[in-house]
């Protein structure tokens, strides 16, 4: 996802925002609210959760603007905050243990249940953690190391999650040779 605010403008906006200029903060919010909400929708279970992540992310942005060093992409930094908030919610709900079971059950269904979903529905059907890995890696462009750090896992875990998720998507999307 491309940055919507050029770096020089972002630096100026952040300097103004740090001085208490809420107009500058609102500018940042408007520029990235859709991107943050979309990321949150992909990483959380419900639209309500995603709205909460949107709000928590920008509150954190307001609090911690000083942590943005100004030499990298502002979107990259905000995305990191948003992903962290979304995944924290996931961890807080302690879904990990139950999701392992759900994950295994879903893996079985790729063989047994003849499905043909569109990409949106197939993505939605993935277990939350797999969906997060797919989205963060394939769409947002995070490395496996970055994902591992965000999720408190290893990079090899992220790689295997991605591979398993793509195998499921392949089957659900009704491709030829789903049994590969």
């Amino acid at each position: 996802m491309a940055d919507t605010i050029p770096l020089a403008e972002a630096q100026s906006l952040v300097a103004r925002a740090r001085a208490g200029d809420f107009g500058a903060l609102e500018h940042v919010y408007r520029a990235y609210e859709r991107s943050v909400y979309t990321l949150a929708r992909r990483l959380t279970k419900t639209p309500e959760d995603a709205e909460d992540v949107l709000q928590e992310t920008f509150l954190e942005v307001c609090r911690s603007l000083g942590k943005w060093r100004g030499d990298g992409s502002l979107w990259g930094w905000i995305r990191q905050v948003a992903a962290s908030k979304a995944l924290m919610r996931y961890r807080r709900e302690k879904l990990r243990a139950t999701e392992v079971l759900a994950d295994d059950a879903a893996a079985g269904s790729t063989v047994d249940v003849p499905l043909r979903l569109d990409l949106e529905a197939a993505l939605e059907r993935l277990p939350e953690r797999s969906r997060a890995v797919v989205w963060l890696h394939d769409v947002e462009g995070l490395t496996h190391e970055e994902i591992a750090e965000l999720m408190g896992m290893t990079a090899s875990f992220s790689k295997s999650q991605l591979a398993r998720a793509h195998q499921k998507l392949r089957a659900w999307l009704g491709e030829e040779g789903a049994g590969r």
Binding site: R16, G20, E26, R41, L59, L119, L162, A163, H166, R170
Partner: protein
């Protein structure tokens, strides 16, 4: 390709991401099945990136801004209270060291007066609610400059090594702080850039 295994999904994903092993790259280039799978993985990634963005159902900016303003106000007030407490402690230590000599008492009075002036300006600044209005370019720039100078003063006030046991130095820092706060009040009430202290 007889006698050679096919690449795994993980190996093909690594090739897709430009990180695959030499074997996996060569195999995908020569094996029609794995080459097709690699192409499919690239297509899925492209399709994922092309999915439309979601639009938030409600505008959350009002809630975010209100909470951020409240938190900022609380931080500023607790910061000023912390500095005043540190200064009061410094004063107590000074009295303990120097006893009740007339010049020491005079220095303490001056210091207390400077602190009171700074705290009064802090209250005035809160009263004008500096977070409530967006400032224009020049005024916003002036606020940035004043805030930075204020942060420097606060850092010096928070570091006893900067003023040691000298209440006059400490009083001077508090007076400078009050001056900067006063300038901030001016900018926020007039929305005019401050020429400088």
């Amino acid at each position: 390709m007889s006698g050679e295994r096919h690449a795994t999904a993980e190996e093909l994903l690594a090739v897709r991401d430009g990180e695959g092993s030499a074997w996996a790259k060569a195999h995908a280039a020569g094996c029609a099945e794995c080459g097709g799978e690699l192409y499919r993985l690239e297509q899925v990634r492209s399709q994922l990136r092309a999915l439309p963005a979601f639009v938030p159902p409600r505008d959350r900016w009002g809630v975010v801004a209100e909470r951020a303003r409240r938190e900022r106000r609380q931080r500023r007030l607790s910061g000023a209270a912390g500095l005043a407490a540190a200064a009061a402690l410094g004063g107590l230590l000074l009295v303990a060291v120097q006893g009740t000599r007339p010049d020491a008492l005079q220095a303490q009075t001056t210091l207390r007066s400077a602190m009171a002036r700074s705290q009064a300006m802090e209250q005035v600044l809160q009263g004008v609610d500096p977070d409530a209005r967006a400032l224009g370019g020049e005024a916003a720039g002036a606020v940035v400059d004043l805030q930075r100078r204020l942060e420097t003063i606060d850092a010096r006030l928070g570091d006893p090594a900067q003023w040691g046991n000298d209440p006059a130095s400490q009083a001077q820092l508090w007076n400078e702080r009050a001056g900067l706060l006063s300038a901030l009040v001016d900018v926020h009430t007039t929305h005019v850039a401050y020429a400088g202290l």
